[in-house]
């Protein structure tokens, strides 16, 4: 998943970027409103974390502009202003949730994950498509309640596919969202990882969780179960 962080305070921005990268996200950073709006409109991103008090263009204006231009990805507000008036303004402008400074990274991370899975239509952070179960907060995957050992990159792929269960995801999209920008983009690598994932999740080749649609991409094909 690719995040955009728009925050003018370098300490907060960089610490968020490092923590999110460690948590397996691709991260874009913008230092002011103008740059932020540009990235938010032009880059392939899955979620934006936007500070409200930005130089150049305010966070509220960015959110309004993004929603006007038809960007539907979730937006999380960071704000030092804690009055309901500010929160309501942000939410009405088109944001989906807010975190008040000073925050714990765990809280921001939890909100981001919640927004991402909600945007895929999941109501809980445990995504279940029997027999596969993925716990976003613990970042683990089980099949028939047996834990599956995954590398972080494998986890990122299955999480991305499973959050969007039922949708066709192209190789390009996977590469864009899962690699950092300066990473070498080689779609063969994706194929290799998908192959490994299939073996780990479905060693007997009975449930076939990931479909390949020739020329179009991949799809997580198992039916979503009621998750809670």
């Amino acid at each position: 998943m690719r995040l955009l962080i728009i925050e003018d305070d370098a300490t907060i921005r960089e610490s968020l970027a490092v923590e999110f990268a460690d948590a397996g996200f691709g991260v874009e950073q913008a230092v002011d409103g103008r740059e932020g709006l540009y990235y938010a409109l032009e880059y392939p991103i899955d979620l934006a974390v936007i500070d409200l008090g930005l130089p150049e263009i305010s966070g509220l204006d960015i959110i309004r502009e993004l929603r006007e231009k038809g960007k539907t990805y979730p937006i999380l507000i960071l704000t030092a202003r804690d009055r309901w008036q500010d929160k309501v303004d942000g939410l009405s402008a088109g944001a989906d949730d807010y975190v008040v400074k000073p925050f714990h990274f765990e809280e921001v991370n939890a909100r981001v994950n919640a927004l991402l899975r909600r945007s895929g239509g999941w109501a809980s952070s445990i995504l279940v498509a029997a027999p596969v179960k993925l716990d976003m907060s613990r970042q683990d995957v089980t099949v028939d309640d047996k834990a599956i050992e995954l590398t972080s990159f494998e986890y990122k792929i299955i999480e991305y596919l499973m959050v969007r269960a039922g949708q066709v995801i192209s190789k390009t999209e996977l590469t864009e969202r899962l690699y950092d920008q300066d990473f070498e983009r080689d779609s063969n690598v994706i194929e290799v990882f998908i192959g490994r994932l299939r073996k780990k999740l479905d060693p007997e080749n009975t449930i076939n969780p990931i479909e390949t649609l020739r020329g179009r991409g991949y799809r997580f094909a198992l039916e979503r179960s009621q998750s809670d």
Binding site: Q85, V88, L91, S92
Partner: protein, 457 residues
């Protein structure tokens, strides 16, 4: 001109000057006109007498007898003079009274006509004259032209007019003086309450009294009441500031001391970050609580536009539905028609936002917000009641006090729990209202905030 009474006195004086001036001019003119008319009539009478008394003498020259009926013609310098001139304007006869005087010739009128003129003697004594030209038949068919002229000195008349004028002036001056005097006395009486307000404000500034007294006339009672509100709110605000700053200073000292202590340990102990965090949270909560104190002062409420409650609640419900989308609570909104919150919009959002947020946080599935006019004994209409309930676990009675006390004892409390209710209570109190917590018919807690109507202005 800063004094009201000075303004009034000057305006009234100018008005009186105009009014009395015009009256004096009108009366004076009328008096003079009437006097002049009377004078002319008298002169006319004298002239007719002379005409009747005139007889041609032996030489055929018109002459007048020495003893005329009007005695003043016989007394030298009496002020009433007469003369008779022939067609070459030579004096044929003149009254004894005109002895040594030179009555000006003036204009000779058309025969048979009377002509009144204002002329003057050589010594500038003003005269009113009447002259008449006649054709006198002396012998058979012999006509001779004569001019009769009667003049009267205007000295006495002028003196009379001047006397009248003097009297007029002195009466009017007396009346004006009495009027101005009574107006200034009236003004003093009328302005006494204003002066009292002024001196009372002075006393307040110098700390000799706490607020304005209540005993003012109806017109000023509102002003005095508002002044008192303003003074009270200013005082409350500065107290609140002092209090807030004191609180901040004191309550931040403990966590800072704790941090310092932790710093000393940091070298020895590795897993210290969590405890650092705890202190940072505590300080954050303190700052948050102190800075979210009510925005509107009592005086501010007099000038604030009322908040359209339904729209703001709608925004809050939309926003909270996003935030609590996983729980997806059903939020019933029941708002009386056209109800308004008379206060700061931020304060209202803080009240409703905190209550709704808490309810969404604790509910199983259902939240209800009801905003209706408050019925408060002894208060007029305009107050509102905000009731938020949920179907969550509710708040046990013994915890209520502790929850509401949080604001006051923040520096002693453990971090991590909401300070929303304490903030709501503070705001409600600042509007003269209150907050109560009880069990809801939905099964959880019901928090009721009552806000009385804004003080009447």
């Amino acid at each position: 001109m800063s004094s009201l009474s000075a303004r009034l006195l000057v305006s009234v004086s100018v008005l009186l000057l105009f009014f009395f001036g015009a009256t004096i001019v009108v009366l004076d003119t009328a008096f003079r006109k009437a006097g002049e008319q009377a004078r002319e009539d008298i002169l006319d009478g004298h002239l007719m007498q002379l005409l009747a008394a005139a007889e041609p003498d032996a030489d055929g020259v018109l002459d007048l007898p020495p003893d005329l009926p009007e005695a003043r013609f016989g007394n030298i310098g009496s002020g009433l003079y007469a003369e008779l001139r022939d067609e070459s304007s030579e004096i044929v006869w003149r009254s004894r009274s005109a002895l040594g005087l030179d009555i000006p010739l003036g204009v000779i009128p058309e025969p048979g006509n009377l002509l009144f003129l204002e002329e003057s003697l050589e010594d500038n004594t003003p005269l009113l004259t009447v002259s008449m030209a006649v054709q006198w038949e002396i012998a058979d068919n012999e006509l001779k032209s004569y001019v009769f002229k009667v003049a009267e000195s205007l000295d006495s008349f002028n003196a009379q007019v001047a006397g009248f004028r003097r009297q007029l002036f002195s009466w009017f001056a007396a009346v004006a003086l009495i009027m101005l005097l009574s107006i200034s006395i009236l003004m003093r009486r009328l302005l006494r309450p204003l002066r009292q307000i002024e001196s009372e404000i002075g006393d307040i500034e110098e700390g000799r009294r706490a607020s304005l007294s209540e005993a003012f006339p109806t017109e000023l009672a509102g002003v005095a009441r508002n002044m008192n509100l303003l003074i009270d709110s200013e005082r409350a605000r500065s107290e609140r500031y002092r209090h807030t700053l004191d609180n901040l200073a004191h309550s931040l000292k403990t966590p800072l001391a704790a941090l310092r202590a932790l710093l000393r340990e940091i070298v020895a102990q590795k897993d210290i970050a969590g405890r650092f965090d705890e202190q940072i949270d505590r300080m954050d909560e303190i700052v948050r609580y102190q800075l979210r104190k009510p925005a509107a002062s009592v005086a501010g409420k007099l000038v604030l536009a009322p908040v359209a409650v339904a729209k703001e609640v709608g925004r809050l419900v939309d926003g909270l539905s996003k935030v609590y989308r996983d729980k997806n609570p059903v939020i019933d909104v029941d708002i009386a028609d056209r109800i308004r919150f008379r206060g700061d919009i931020g304060d209202f959002l803080e009240l409703a936002g905190n209550l709704l947020d808490n309810a969404c946080k604790w509910c199983e599935r259902r939240v209800r917000i009801r905003i209706v006019p408050a019925i408060i004994a002894g208060a007029s209409a305009g107050g509102i009641e905000i009731v938020v309930s949920d179907d969550g676990p509710g708040i046990p009675g013994e915890a209520v006090d502790a929850l509401l006390q949080r604001g006051m004892r923040l520096d002693e409390s453990a971090p991590g729990h909401g300070i929303g209710l304490a903030i709501v209570k503070d705001i409600a109190r600042s509007y003269g209202g209150d907050l109560t917590i009880q069990a809801s018919d939905l099964g959880g807690a019901e928090v009721k905030v009552t806000i009385p109507p804004a003080p009447e202005s």
